[in-house]
């Protein structure tokens, strides 16, 4: 199971990294005659027999009910490694829409792949930031003990009770009206790191505080090791915990990004992210007659499931450690 999960995550990472070449279309290009167009199907065979993979051109027959039919008069062959794409079709045959199109006729596959870069990227960076911050502060608190330990843990408690979603709104209000995608990416990563470090710090602190009473730590101290060097000896004991925290934080932050983008405080429509894409599927119509708009939710589900599966063993290593979740980060704490 863990191997499968690793393959899934690896595959997602490759798809996200190679999005500009794999996506058949530009993620912001509009195709006016493809609003809510369904996914195109691959074909290998027609009345004349077997062929190399091909598709049929979509024809809009009723705009209001968004009825599309395949033009079976002519096969449209797939062109591999042409026009800078892994696969494409003759532009005259219309756009190639593997996953269908959204309400504005934008290629959902392209938006999903490009969105993965932002969503996975911000979750990974946020999780790494939280681990770094939490490990440093937790280790220092655990090793030093006393007043410093109390102060760090009090700050951690304070951050834990902060209503982060309102902080995001306030923070957004202090920034200019227009901020570019890179700045949103960095801001969101920093915010996630700040919101998630206390859980990491608590775990690391507990491990380090226990380890510092062990013989090897006493020996190091007796040999004249200073505080920094001593921490260097103690922190490796928390590596397992940090690995588990990484795979636990990733899904939480992934969902948090989706939540923030969904409510309009994340990436805008010109920079697709999975949360932003989910906004298009919030209407009843999307579920009723354009269910492919729920693909971002499916992608989110699969990635989160894979991350959970990957962290399965970790859950038994540190059962008592409180885990950050999307609710903790994107909603007021209860």
């Amino acid at each position: 199971m863990r191997r499968l999960a690793a393959w899934v995550l690896g595959g997602c990472a490759v798809l996200a990294a190679a999005a500009p070449w794999i996506a058949p279309n530009d993620p912001v290009s509009l195709f006016a005659d493809r609003a809510f167009a369904p996914p195109m199907a691959w074909h290998l065979r027609d009345a004349e027999g077997w062929h190399a993979p091909f598709v049929y051109r979509q024809q809009l027959t009723d705009r209001i009910s968004r009825t599309y039919v395949e033009d079976r008069q002519q096969r449209v062959p797939l062109r591999w490694f042409s026009a800078g794409r892994v696969v494409a079709i003759d532009p005259g045959a219309g756009p190639l829409l593997w996953c269908g199109a959204d309400a504005l006729g934008r290629d959902l596959c392209a938006r999903l792949l490009h969105g993965a870069r932002l969503s996975l990227g911000v979750a990974l960076l946020g999780a790494c930031g939280a681990l770094l911050l939490g490990a440093i502060l937790g280790a220092a608190a655990g090793a030093a003990g006393g007043r410093f330990d109390t102060v760090v843990m009090t700050v951690a408690d304070f951050v834990l009770v902060l209503p982060i979603v309102y902080l995001v709104i306030v923070l957004r209000a202090t920034r200019p009206l227009v901020i570019d995608t890179a700045e949103v990416f960095v801001m969101m990563s920093i915010l996630f790191a700040i919101a998630a470090w206390p859980d990491v710090a608590r775990g690391v602190r507990a491990i380090v505080a226990t380890e510092r009473t062990r013989d090897y730590a006493e020996a190091a101290r007796a040999a004249g090791a200073g505080p920094v060097r001593l921490i260097g000896h103690l922190v490796p004991a928390a590596y397992g915990f940090l690995r588990v925290e990484l795979v636990l934080l990733m899904p939480a932050l992934l969902v948090a990004e989706s939540t923030l983008s969904f409510v309009g405080f994340g990436f805008d429509g010109a920079s697709p992210s999975w949360g932003g894409l989910l906004k298009d599927s919030e209407t009843l119509t999307a579920m009723y007659s354009a269910p492919w708009l729920l693909l971002p939710a499916v992608a989110l589900f699969v990635v989160v499931l894979a991350l959970q599966a990957l962290s399965g063993a970790g859950a038994t290593i540190s059962p008592g450690v409180r885990r950050a979740s999307a609710v903790d980060i994107a909603a007021p704490r209860r």
Binding site: A32, R66, L177, A270, T283, L284, A297, V327
Partner: protein, 576 residues
């Protein structure tokens, strides 16, 4: 925690799917109301917002208008489809040749819902409250002619004389929005300065009285308003049967549009009072084919969202971007926007491309072809080059002469699907000519705040209008108007063409000759087309869904599109 959230997510999706499947199966087709009006029964409508006040004179929100339409009556009514006057509380009216003085004969033997007789004193009281500064009525400005109040006096209990201070083009049409209020219930509140609070949301319905077809029986916050038949309603149908036909109308408060649609699909509501999204029409068509609902065509909307740049001289927000206020830039933007693509994608074809604020829904005020700027990227690029905007570094984005990128922010209303999607289309289409647009969706309050403070570069937004007559919309046309979007509240007109529009609009508002008014207004539209102060893209075709058991429906392109004629609605069968 994460797992429990996942479980909740899966459960929510499963429930939604089940709800949709169930909604597609429930409800047996009902016969249409071909048998003629049937007396009795209960109709359920839905509305998205809560009332804060039931007094139309102090509350401008659509929900207050709805409550007033159900519970109050006016002297006369303008049929929203034909534009013809209908006698209401006044049975006849005669005017002097100059159109300044009108004598109204009030309907005899009319009683308020509490049994008190209606007299001319109630009409005088209503005008007194309307113009009372302590009341601060939002209706007061539109009930003035050239800024001056109308004079009203009573000849006797059943005759009143209304005098316009100056010739006024819209004439008596303005009376369509003025409900006549009960003097015996509200005079004390007006005298005490508590008129605004007298019929606030917490009012005891027994303290209210009206001349409308229904009476408020109950308001349960966040749930519903219940209106029951007014036994003293004074109108009968052609067969002499007393109106209204319905015993009761319940207006359920359903803030969420998807929930509103589900209720309609499942037969829990008979009609909605908000707009219908184009993308929902396919689902509604299926329900119509199954015989559960009927889709009524109410014509082309008269409210069109407006795209405008901040043209206020010296506005800090546009400092350093002189091209934003250049007429050629606006014209280039107009040529670069493919309106048909907006109609096809945002409205799924259920709209009409427009090039000005006047749509085919405005009837005789609409001039076909006026100001058309065909989609022409070549022409747009030529215009941009003519004002020094070129792609100097080859990055796909134009730069001005100071080498600054041609980039602006476009504010729009968050949650308004039509506006958000149109903004996204405009963003992508302007990218084709090298103009970078940052779309920022703000909540309604934040957007209006930016507009009133002048802290914006461009906005795509609009206000609701219930009158096709341009003279009832002077706040938009006059340079000193609050809704003169691109440069509101000017002390003196900033441009010659705006000064000319001011003159023309004042002339046409003060002219009683319809043909002359149309001629003057056509010239106004031409000036707007020549100077492109703002852009308009598409006017929606309004479709109203109603349950198949509801009869007597005359849909109109106003709010509320069905309940404006509530007394003539009936149901052909009882609710399940």
């Amino acid at each position: 925690m994460t797992r429990s959230r996942l479980i909740r997510l899966v459960l929510a999706v499963a429930l939604a799917v089940v709800a949709i499947l169930v909604s597609r199966r429930v409800g047996t087709p009902q016969p249409d109301g071909e048998a003629g009006p049937r007396r009795g029964g209960r109709l359920v409508a839905s509305f998205r917002t809560e009332p804060t006040n039931f007094n139309r004179l102090v509350e401008a929100q659509p929900v207050a208008r709805l409550a007033a339409l159900l519970t109050q009556a006016t002297l006369l009514r303008v049929d929203p489809n034909s534009g013809a006057f209908e006698p209401r509380l006044a049975t006849a009216w005669t005017g002097t040749p100059d159109g300044l003085t009108w004598t109204f004969t009030l309907r005899p033997n009319v009683r308020f819902s509490d049994g008190t007789a209606f007299t001319a004193a109630d009409v005088l009281f209503t005008f007194q409250a309307l113009y009372d500064e302590r009341v601060g009525s939002p209706l007061a400005s539109e009930m003035r002619a050239n800024g001056q109040p109308l004079q009203v006096r009573a000849l006797d209990d059943h005759h009143v004389v209304l005098t316009f201070p100056v010739p006024f083009g819209p004439g008596l049409t303005i009376l369509d929005s003025l409900p006549i209020l009960p003097r015996h219930k509200l005079q004390a509140a007006l005298d005490a300065g508590t008129f605004r609070a007298a019929w606030s949301a917490g009012v005891n319905p027994a303290d209210m009285a009206g001349l409308g077809p229904f009476m408020l029986q109950e308001y349960v916050p966040a749930q519903h308003m219940r209106f029951v038949r007014n036994p003293n309603f004074w109108l009968t149908d052609a067969e002499g049967q007393a109106l209204p036909y319905l015993d009761e109308i319940e207006v359920a408060i359903v803030p969420e549009q998807n929930a509103e649609l589900l209720r309609l699909q499942a037969g829990e509501s008979d009609l909605t009072t908000g707009g219908t999204r184009a993308e929902d029409l396919a689902m509604l068509r299926d329900a119509e084919a199954a015989g559960r609902i009927r889709l009524m065509n109410a014509g082309t909307a008269i409210d069109v969202s407006t795209f405008w740049f901040n043209l206020t001289p010296g506005a800090k927000a546009v400092a350093g971007k002189p091209w934003l206020t250049d007429e050629s830039f606006r014209r280039a933007v107009s040529h670069a926007v493919n309106r048909q693509a907006i109609v096809d994608t945002v409205h799924l074809g259920a709209a009409t491309p427009v090039y000005g604020p006047i749509t085919p829904g405005h009837g005789q005020w609409f001039v076909p072809g006026m100001g058309e700027t065909p989609f022409d990227l070549g022409r747009a690029r030529t215009l941009l080059t003519s004002i020094g905007l070129e792609d100097r570094d080859g990055d796909g984005v134009l730069e001005d002469k100071a080498n600054r990128p041609v980039r602006f922010s476009l504010l729009t209303q968050r949650g308004n699907t039509e506006r958000e999607r149109t903004s996204a289309v405009v963003q992508e289409q302007l990218r084709q000519v090298g103009i970078a647009v940052d779309v920022v969706a703000l909540d309604g309050g934040g957007l209006v705040g930016r507009f009133t403070s002048g802290d914006y570069e461009a906005i795509y937004f609009g206000a609701q209008s219930n009158s096709a007559d341009p003279a009832n919309n002077l706040g938009f046309w006059l340079s000193n108007g609050g809704f003169h979007y691109w440069n509101p509240g000017q002390v003196t007109p900033a441009t010659e063409w705006e000064a000319r529009i001011d003159t023309l609009m004042q002339q046409q508002a003060a002219t009683m000759d319809r043909a002359e008014r149309i001629r003057l207004f056509t010239e106004v539209q031409q000036l707007v087309a020549d100077h492109v102060p703002a852009l308009w893209f598409a006017a929606a075709n309004i479709t109203v869904p109603v349950n198949a058991r509801v009869g007597g429906v005359t849909a109109a392109a106003i709010q509320p599109p069905v309940l404006w004629n509530a007394e003539r609605l009936y149901v052909t069968s009882e609710r399940r």
